[in-house]
């Protein structure tokens, strides 16, 4: 069949298809959508014919464009994030954390190990803190948690708007750190390990130092509440990063690129959970931890409950299947 005859025969069909494509691309409800897959496959067949018969480049290129656009409309990847947030929170995330327990354990040991270890060291040998943190930052930190200076160096009770400032700041700062800890795991896991150890040492140094000089009450009652979510989130972000790095170090039977791609798909789900944790942490930090009215005992109690909650959630949620999934 000559090309012009072929074109004339299918011209109307192609025009209809391109109209439907435009509607679909603009996200509108296209008319006659039910026949779209069939029309698309017909177009594929026509393209194959045109190539086989050596028709001109213009015809083949424009058919190829139409097929590509149709392909992009017909074959969409199902988004696993947006669709089922609820089941992800209720079951998917803790399940994923347990499934990746090796990385979570490694990251947790690095982070909490360095934190607790260095806190003890600084508590026992107070001068160690100056090896890690410059002296002026240490004194700044001291004045922030000075029990005599009211609360956190600011006026006795913060205004509501001040809470807002800190809420925004915590979100930006903490999620930024979590993202860095995750992303740098691509460097064979070294980046994640570095950020985990570094943050662990820094927090440990501050905690040990403040406890040693007797500001323990203000410090611990401030951090215990949101720490439950914030610290575990950093450890989980590190676990996600280590997972990336491990896929490059030991890809198993897959090529490295493919192993990395599969690991990244899993770890990004972990990061979504981490973001959720950090949002909760920022909320607690800005609105509960900064309150001075509750007695330290209350704060310790609430803090302990929150830690227990996080542990229970990660260990036990989603072990049995429920209706919302």
């Amino acid at each position: 069949m000559k090309q012009s005859l072929f074109e004339n025969r299918h011209k109307a069909e192609w025009a209809r298809f391109s109209l439907m494509l435009e509607q679909l691309e603009r996200g509108k409800e296209a008319s006659g959508i039910a026949s779209f897959p069939k029309d698309y496959r017909r177009l594929c067949q026509q393209l194959a014919l045109a190539q086989e018969r050596g028709y001109s480049s213009f015809l083949i290129d424009s058919l190829q464009q139409q097929v590509l656009r149709g392909h992009q409309q017909l074959y969409r990847h199902r988004s696993r994030l947006g669709a089922n947030i609820l089941s992800f929170i209720l079951a998917g995330f803790p399940r994923l954390v347990r499934e990746q327990w090796r990385f979570v354990l490694a990251a947790g040991l690095m982070f909490f190990g360095s934190l607790i270890g260095f806190a003890l060291l600084v508590y026992l040998f107070p001068d160690l803190v100056y090896n890690l943190i410059p002296a002026e930052q240490v004194s700044e930190m001291q004045s922030m948690y000075d029990p005599v200076a009211g609360h956190l160096g600011r006026s006795a009770e913060r205004a509501a708007s001040e809470d807002w400032v800190m809420f925004g700041y915590y979100i930006m700062h903490n999620i930024g750190i979590a993202f860095q800890t995750f992303a740098s795991g691509l460097l064979f896991g070294l980046g994640s390990a570095f950020f985990l150890l570094f943050n662990g040492l820094m927090i440990g140094a501050v905690a040990g130092h403040l406890t040693h000089i007797g500001f323990g009450q203000t410090f611990w009652s401030f951090v215990i509440g949101h720490g439950a979510f914030e610290l575990s989130a950093i450890a989980l972000a590190g676990a996600a990063g280590l997972q990336l790095g491990w896929a490059l170090i030991a890809p198993g039977r897959l090529p490295r690129a493919e192993a990395l791609r599969l690991a990244a798909r899993k770890s990004v789900l972990l990061i979504c959970g981490v973001m959720l944790f950090l949002l909760i942490a920022a909320f607690i930090e800005a609105y509960w931890s900064s309150m001075t009215a509750p007695a330290p005992t209350t704060k310790y109690l609430v803090g302990a409950v929150l830690w227990l909650l996080v542990a229970t959630y990660l260990l036990f949620a989603g072990r049995t299947r429920h209706a919302p999934e």
Binding site: K2, Q3, S4, L5, E25, Y40, R41, C44, Q45, L47, A48, E52, G54, S56, S57, F58, S62, Q64, Q65, V67, L68, R69, H71, Q72, Y75, R76, H77, R78, S79, R80, L81, G82, A159, S161, E162, W164, V165, F167, G168, Y169, I171, M172, I175, G176, F179, Q180, F182, A183, S184, L186, L187, L244, A257, L260, A264, R265, V268, L269, I271, C272
Partner: protein, 241 residues
């Protein structure tokens, strides 16, 4: 020496010598995508960077009037714009951030399908590593050595930055009396003759004469008439208008 014996009609065209990336669809069609190189992507990124700076500048001026609340909102916005700008545009705007849109690029999955949340999140979070140790050093190296110009984030996310397809305009074929060629044409020859006729509008007259005269001998026509002869054959191949 031109090969005049007909190849079997089933013979496939030889793969083109360029950077095209073939996606095979489930229908058995090979779709060629054109991956975008380092330079054009760097330009697109600079545009996006400038735009983000502009957005933040304007917002901070507005928020400055709101006082404390503004400062809190400002931090959230700074976070949102620096980490989410690319993700939101890529997912909600068919894989095109404003810079990419400007440069005629888009992001797709490796299999040519539109980019989704998780792939976009991965490639944009890992941008942090691509930027190490300074100024996109790792990203540029990865991009330059990869056959499809992927940076590290693209490798992990399984995505590809490609040139967007531009709408084609139908080329005008020169007028000629349709004619049957003196011998059977192979498929690539047929495509070449049609291509010559379709592209004649873009070529200078001297150049098209030069090209056509190469074929004067096998076509058995004097060199000055080769262009007209090729156009006639192309018309004949195309069929009646």
């Amino acid at each position: 020496m031109l090969e005049t014996t007909a190849l079997p009609r089933k013979a496939t065209l030889p793969p083109p010598l360029d950077t095209r990336y073939q996606v095979e669809t489930p229908e058995g069609i090979d779709l060629p995508l054109r991956p975008a190189g380092l330079m054009v992507r760097a330009l697109a990124f600079s545009i996006d960077l400038g735009l983000r700076g502009l957005i933040l500048g304007v917002l901070f001026i507005v928020l400055a009037f709101l006082g404390k609340l503004g400062a809190g909102l400002g931090s959230i916005l700074l976070f949102g714009v620096s980490w989410w700008y690319m993700v939101l545009f890529e997912v909600l705007n068919q894989g095109r951030s404003p810079g990419k849109q400007w440069m005629g690029l888009r992001v797709v999955h490796d299999d040519g399908t539109p980019i989704g949340w998780s792939a976009s999140l991965i490639r944009n979070l890992l941008r942090f590593v691509d930027m190490l140790p300074f100024g996109y050093f790792l990203g540029a190296i990865s991009c330059l050595q990869h056959p499809h110009f992927k940076r590290l984030g693209d490798l992990a996310a399984g995505t590809l930055v490609i040139y967007r397809e531009q709408p084609l305009t139908r080329p005008q074929l020169p007028d000629a009396q349709p004619r049957r060629p003196a011998f059977a044409l192979t498929l690539p020859e047929q495509r070449a003759v049609l291509g010559f006729a379709e592209r004649q509008g873009e070529l200078s007259e001297a150049r098209s004469h030069e090209l056509a005269s190469i074929l004067a001998q096998p076509l058995q026509v004097p060199a000055p008439r080769a262009v007209a002869e090729l156009n006639a054959i192309a018309r004949g191949l195309l069929g009646p208008a």
